[in-house]
Symmetry: C2
Subunit: 356 residues, 2 copies
DNA sequence: ATTGAATGCACCATCGATTGTGCAAAACGA
DNA sequence: TCGTTTTGCACAATCGATGGTGCATTCAAT
């Protein structure tokens, strides 16, 4: 008759049950009992009592006292695409393996929401914060700095905290080059046949545009401005951009560099409005990897950013005592059409097999 | 020179600055000051001080005292697919609109991890828990019940707490029917030409299999057992199942019912190993929606579960004082090939447009 | 002038843990 | 046998907020 029915057991309950003081119980249960020279037999007695009564520490109380929570945050722009959701997946595994508790929240690419969310996290005495794709990394930095919270930028860099980002310039070069090479197989492409759609005025987009243009100039000898169409990160605006182009030109550019999978979704919406055959000969490059996107009826080249690598680097930097506010570039990978890569989900595969 | 440089301001700091007692400051800043008959002028003075010094409440302290945290949890099996990531996206928006703080965590479909994760959440005095796709919903229920935490199952039902799930039986019927009708256009299909792959021994899979078999018997007159291949929820096992079939039959079944987008990824891995033309005439139905999956080079029928509807219903039930442990079915939607639906991301579209 | 109610706020215990300090009792050495 | 260490643990302050209770004032009513 384990009467754990009422409320959760506290160190005070166990203190009474064991005849020891609350501080002894606390020391035993948080592992510092050796330092406090608690007798092993005492420790064992308390531990077994704790198990019997299903004691678990009240983490808010612990956090209040120690002003650390054991929480590690990941701030995402959005959940709902493969890039960020795989980041969340990888992040969780990594944080868990450090014995801490991952907290993933999204801020909808809204600077105000970002600040508010970060303030909330700080109010929970979060220990560390990974800031992925923030619209205003330096604004977030100020908050973290004031609260003394270790933090790092991922995906979009800031100037005041260390940043781990994808090598967008090189990635864009690879992608553009691959697009043009594919196009060359069916007649050498003109400069105005290769367009870039999507993205907005952020570091990643700027670097990608730079890579795109450099390669175009180098391989095609020219790089008209109208081939750059930064439509923001919304499927809808991207679709509109394609519709506009199509209404004018009665076709789509043969070579498309699409800035993210979210923009690619906008292109899908456009596609859905038109017969499949209209786009028989296009070549698409997407700066993001999505396994389904890789198998579309036209060649889709994709860039897979090395999420695991970026996070690994970020965790490594977090360990440093006083990390420099520099930018670390992580090389992405060019993915050929019709390629199904493994991802973070594969790491949990064994569980499925065991439990069947 | 706002000297917020040191640490975060507390009610004690503001108490000294304002000349009022800490309890007065507290009452003013948490909105209960009217009840406590604090003079309006006092309240305003304190509020302005709070702003100047960028006061934000220490939520751990508040949570400790009030044994509620303002946190609302969503427990996910995994982050990394469109179904669950869109659930996370919708969930966050909904929780935010209630003025609380969303916390999304995944438990990797591992019952042990599930329990541990939930215990952690409980230790943070989480207020409510939404349990999506738990392998052991009733186990989680016991923990929540003991801690007095309101909770609800989503996607996979439990027997002890209210559950909101997709109408898997009807969804599977729709999907199977659509697959067979499509196949009929190119010659009437035999019963052994329509297979189901993926899923494991959970409620959702059982219902889907039931729907699949019923429709097959009804439309094709038979329903051989070997057409059911529950491979678990891992891309890898799914791929292996297809390879095995292919090695034996030198083809794939013309009609495929794939139990989830994760299993579909396994099929992609299989596809990647074989020339595109091998599968020219297949029809795939996938019990999950993925925008890119909808545009593959063969007809892909998809079921979109009504994530928004399920969450809305779940939040509604959460409001009830003593909700019954019954199952609420939410109708899913059949999505025709080459369809790009809008999702939760579209709700944040305006932000993009404004900030450009 | 006296009583009673309303107003405005301070006091203090409390939530559950952590941690510096101090003091017996036991063990040890001479 | 008497100091000196070492061992083993208890005490009490503390983290920051909440909320019940109680005590002055002020004001109105008689």
């Amino acid at each position: 008759m384990n009467h754990q029915s009422k409320k959760k057991a506290t160190i005070y309950d166990l203190s009474i049950l064991s005849g020891c003081s609350p501080s002894t119980v606390s020391a035993v249960l948080n592992g510092t009992w050796q330092k406090r020279r608690i007798k092993q037999s005492t420790a064992e007695r308390i531990q077994s009592l704790a198990e019997q009564h299903r004691y678990t520490a009240n983490l808010q109380a612990r956090g209040l006292r120690s002003s650390r929570s054991g929480l590690v945050g990941l701030l995402l722009p959005v959940h709902d695409n493969r890039y960020f959701s795989s980041m969340a997946q990888t992040f969780e595994a990594e944080v868990r393996s450090h014995g801490k508790c991952p907290v993933v929240v999204s801020a909808c690419r809204d600077p105000v929401e970002e600040q508010a969310t970060v303030e909330t996290l700080i109010s929970y005495s979060i220990d560390e914060l990974f800031i992925a794709g923030a619209t205003d990394p330096d604004g977030v930095h100020v908050l973290c700095e004031a609260a003394g919270i270790r933090h790092i930028n991922i995906d979009l860099p800031g100037t005041k905290a260390p940043s781990v980002i994808s090598d967008n310039y090189e990635g864009a070069r690879m992608l553009t080059q691959a697009i043009i090479q594919r196009l060359a197989a069916t007649g050498s492409p003109e400069p105005d046949e290769v367009y870039l759609f999507g993205g907005r005025d952020d570091h990643a987009t700027r670097e990608r545009i730079r890579g795109f243009r450099d390669v175009k100039r180098q391989m095609l000898g020219a790089d008209p401005d109208e081939c750059i169409q930064p439509t923001g990160y919304s499927p809808d605006m991207t679709q509109k951009a394609f519709e506009t182009y199509y209404a004018r030109e009665k076709k789509v550019p043969r070579g498309l560099f699409i800035n993210s999978s979210i923009n690619f979704e906008g292109f899908l919406r456009f596609l859905a409005q038109h017969p499949h055959e209209t786009f028989a000969d296009i070549v698409v490059g997407c700066y993001d990897y999505d396994p389904f996107g890789s198998f579309l009826p036209f060649p889709v080249l994709m860039i897979r950013q090395d999420v695991a690598g970026m996070l690994a680097k970020a965790f490594e930097i977090m360990e440093e005592s006083r990390p420099a506010a520099k930018i670390h570039l992580i090389a992405p990978e060019l993915v050929q059409p019709r390629t199904a890569l493994t991802g973070p989900l594969d790491l949990i595969r064994e569980i499925d097999t065991f439990t069947r």
